[in-house]
Amino acid sequence: MTPVSLRWPASRWLAAIVALAVAAVLLSPDHRRVFLSGAGIAQGALIAAVSLGVVLTFRGSGVVNLANGTIAMYAAYVYAVLRSDGDLFLPPLPVVPNQVSFGPNMQFWPALLLALAVCVVLGLALHFLVFRPLRNAPPLAKAIASVGVFLLLQAIVIKRFGATPRTVRPMSFVDKSRVEIGPAVMSQEQLFVAALVIVVAIALWALFRFTRFGLATRAAAENERGAIVLGYSPDWLAGLNWVLSTTVTGLLGIFVASINSNVDPIVIPALVVPALTAALAGGFRSFGVTTVAAFLLGMQLPLVQYLGVSASWFPRVDGQAIPGVDTLVPLVLIIALMFLRGNALPGRGTVAARLPSAPEPSRVSMALVGPVVSAATLLAALFWLSPVYRGALANSLIAIVLCVSVVVVTGYVGQLALAPMAFAGIGAYVVADLSTDRGWPFPFPLLVAALVAAGIGVAVAVPALRISGVNLAIVTLALGVAMDRFVFDNPKVNGGLMGAPVTSRPRALMIDEMSLGLAPIVVERILPVIRAIVADTGCGVLLVEQHVHLALEVADRAYVLAHGELVTHGAAADLARDRALLESSYLGAATLDG
């Protein structure tokens, strides 16, 4: 008898864990009902629709296409406008008309075929104008280009139609009537799209498994030079795969929009994060595993929502389920997949591995003198400029730091981080919590915040940095989405209704240790705000402050306490002149009467 080997590949362990988790869910009747609900299956179909295109693009051209959801959205807009107005809208180009009109109320099939024809053109345009010139560029450059495609297509749609949703006319052969399959209740449309996604996945598998085109594409992916020797043009294959990818993505995108009954520039593109997770689970190769993973990701969503309402153990804030737990699932899976599977994103042999490193300044004047002079000038300007320009300069410096963080990661590590604002946000909220809520003195909140942001960055990035390619871009994209929902939307973090006491025109405002934990320059900016509140609202301010000179500077009257006893009091200006008193007394309180 052959002993069972426990030395499975790490990814197989992960698959086993997921299978056990699914089995555990299915054991509970309530959880099974929710997990197998039609809404979850339909959501999985939407994710699969985007993720299949991601895999297809990667297999065909080696591009991790972050714009795939946007391509689906663009195709859906073309279809929706054709159906409703009969207009084929064109991108804003010189001498090209805005649209070609075919008359109102175009029927389903002509609109679908015309929209797919646009997808073919889009695929060719992406290949010849964007990615063919980048054929020998590192994968990171191609991923960055796909971010550019994402922004361009989204901007074209917003420029043309605004960001408001556009109604999508229903398909002609299925509708929203109820279908029950076991515990799953869904509409005909949802069932159709779920089935279509599975059929497309099988068809793509068969295409790549059994046809000459598929075999040639696989050969080129393994070894482009070898493919050339065998008589296949990698360029031609890549172009054809781009057309296939945009057409399949467009087709599914149109049906996704039909399920949603409308299309806007945000919802479908946002599916790219779970879609990348599913593609990662499939190793950017397997259409089957990708599709299964996409369905599982969709089906966990209703379960998370259900548990958020009904499970007492579910983490809560202000009595409500903590937001964004569903967005953590893709993030955790991405990190786990990258950590456990060293080759999360397969490389392609003939392309450069990484972007060129950032050049080191060659002259001492550039390397040392320039930055020192610049920093000194900016620091000095912070004290010389008027408050308005000082604020503008401070904001500019923040933007510079954010840009520099991108340069550091891309130039020195050779990867791309797509969540610099998420890290900035983490730091900002930590500073706010430590200084405002916990009263930590300056500069410790800043230092700790930087450490916390760095720690999260390391925890998220290390699995990606173990391997090459655009892994960090994927994991930081997921992190950005998760942080936005899980942290920044969290009332416990963003303060919820905080601010109400000040803005509801109180008659008295109490400020305890205003300067504690804040940078001097921040304190300096708060003082005029307090004066303005007093001037605008007429409210009195009781300021408890150990920063004696600061307190006496703004106060009308001051009360000096020592060991709980009132030592003296009087006009703040008089006390400020009494240096002996200041030096001998323990100063505990001052007031600013409104």
């Binding site: 809404a39 959501q43 949703p165 229903p170 919802v267 929502q305 109400a500 025109r505």
Partner: protein, 389 residues
């Protein structure tokens, strides 16, 4: 009617234009831009302008939070601008109005989130998202009197803030409320899943506080899941998109059989309030017909008209920040689309000058005024939004 409302002299305005700032998330609500254009064109060509001078609307588009601060700075530094209308500002409205403080009087066309409600630097002449939500909650507790309620609401500052205000009202009435927040980017299946998670299939009342596309998805989900209970929502769900969607679905009627809360009046009934009729007529006559029933158009139109009223009362030659700031705060209403008198500056929601909300039920082709500003049954929000006022 509109000439009387703004205190205009009638006829075409001439002379040097008077500049008014208009900050708006036009990418998301293009109909707000259309309504602003209609109002300005009407004032300039037919209503006599501002003491005879035409209005020039200086626009600033707000797409991301940084835009709000930039628009605020732009208007604050423009010495010719003493009054700014904030349309529907989806990103960073507090930065906009903070920048304007002390430089330009400000009218919020659509108070959407908590920072709007509490803003001491601006005023709003309708009850906003806060009023629509609270009004819906009062309608649920006082009229529907369910035992259980399910709420699906957008997970953003407006949704969280609204839920935190209406939850105590509903729970104080002994109603068990289950809420699920969905992201603004939620797909239709996500919204269907949220409805199921709230227990909508067994709840007595389902309440929906979503964007327009969420309304469509909620409608579809309720149909597919065969949930037939009382639905309470806001006017966001009775706009053009819902009507178009139901038409495409082959529904017999243009609206679902839901209860919709708005600012006291119903723009769909035959016996319209004169001010609503004037608005609809103006939109038809000046190219805004396609947008007249949208979310943004009536409130932006109202804000521009009310701004014109304030400026005419102050006198355009006397219009400074101080006089206009005092003028916008002294507004006592009624406004065009909002029923009831208005009083600004009452805490805690100091910017919200209105205190009434109506609820209208659509029932198989017929509008039923459940709580209307036209017949005295309107919901008074004061006990909830002005407890000390």
């Amino acid at each position: 009617m509109l000439q009387e409302y703004i205190g205009g002299t009638g006829g075409a305005a001439t002379g040097e234009p008077y500049r008014i700032g208009f900050a708006h998330s036009g990418d998301f609500f293009p109909e707000g831009d259309v309504a602003a254009d209609v109002a300005v064109e009407l004032i300039n060509t037919e209503l006599g302008g501002l003491d005879g001078r035409p209005i020039e609307l200086v626009r600033c588009n707000i797409a991301v939070p940084e835009d709000s601060a930039a628009c605020g700075a732009q208007f604050a530094n423009d010495e010719a601008i003493d009054l700014v209308i904030g349309g529907l500002v989806l990103a960073g409205p507090a930065d906009l109005y903070s920048a304007l403080a002390g430089n330009a009087a400000a009218i919020i066309a659509a108070p959407l989130d908590v920072s709007d409600y509490l803003n001491p630097n601006a005023v709003a002449y309708n009850a906003g998202a806060l009023g629509a939500g609270v009004g819906g909650a009062v309608f649920v507790t006082d009229d529907l009197k369910p035992q259980t309620a399910a709420l699906v609401v957008t997970d953003d500052v407006a949704g969280r803030g609204g839920e935190s205000v209406l939850r105590p009202i509903v729970e104080a009435a002994g109603i068990e409320l289950k809420t699920v927040f969905v992201p603004p980017t939620a797909t239709a299946p996500e919204i269907a899943a949220a409805l199921q998670a709230t227990g909508a299939e067994t709840a007595d009342v389902v309440s929906i506080g979503l964007f327009e596309q969420g309304c469509l998805a909620a409608y579809d989900a309720l149909q597919t899941l065969d949930i037939q209970v009382e639905v309470v929502t806001t006017s966001v769900c009775w706009g053009n998109a819902m009507q178009e969607h139901l038409r495409e679905q082959g529904a017999e009627h243009p609206f679902p059989n839901w209860n919709f809360s708005w600012f006291g009046y119903n723009p769909y009934v035959d016996d319209l309030e004169p001010s609503i009729e004037a608005y609809l007529t103006a939109m038809d006559a000046h190219g805004g017909s396609d947008y007249k029933y949208s979310v943004a158009a009536p409130i932006v139109f109202d804000a521009v008209m009310s701004a014109a009223q304030v400026i005419n009362q102050v006198g355009v030659d006397n219009a400074t920040f101080d006089t206009l700031d005092a003028g916008v705060r002294a507004f006592t209403g009624p406004s065009l689309i909002q029923s009831g008198p208005q009083a600004c500056g009452i805490p805690p929601y100091v910017s919200i000058c209105a205190s009434e909300v109506g609820v209208f039920r659509y029932d198989n082709g017929e509008w039923i005024p459940k709580r209307s500003g036209s017949d005295g049954t309107v919901i008074d929000l004061s006990p909830y939004t002005r407890p000390a006022g």
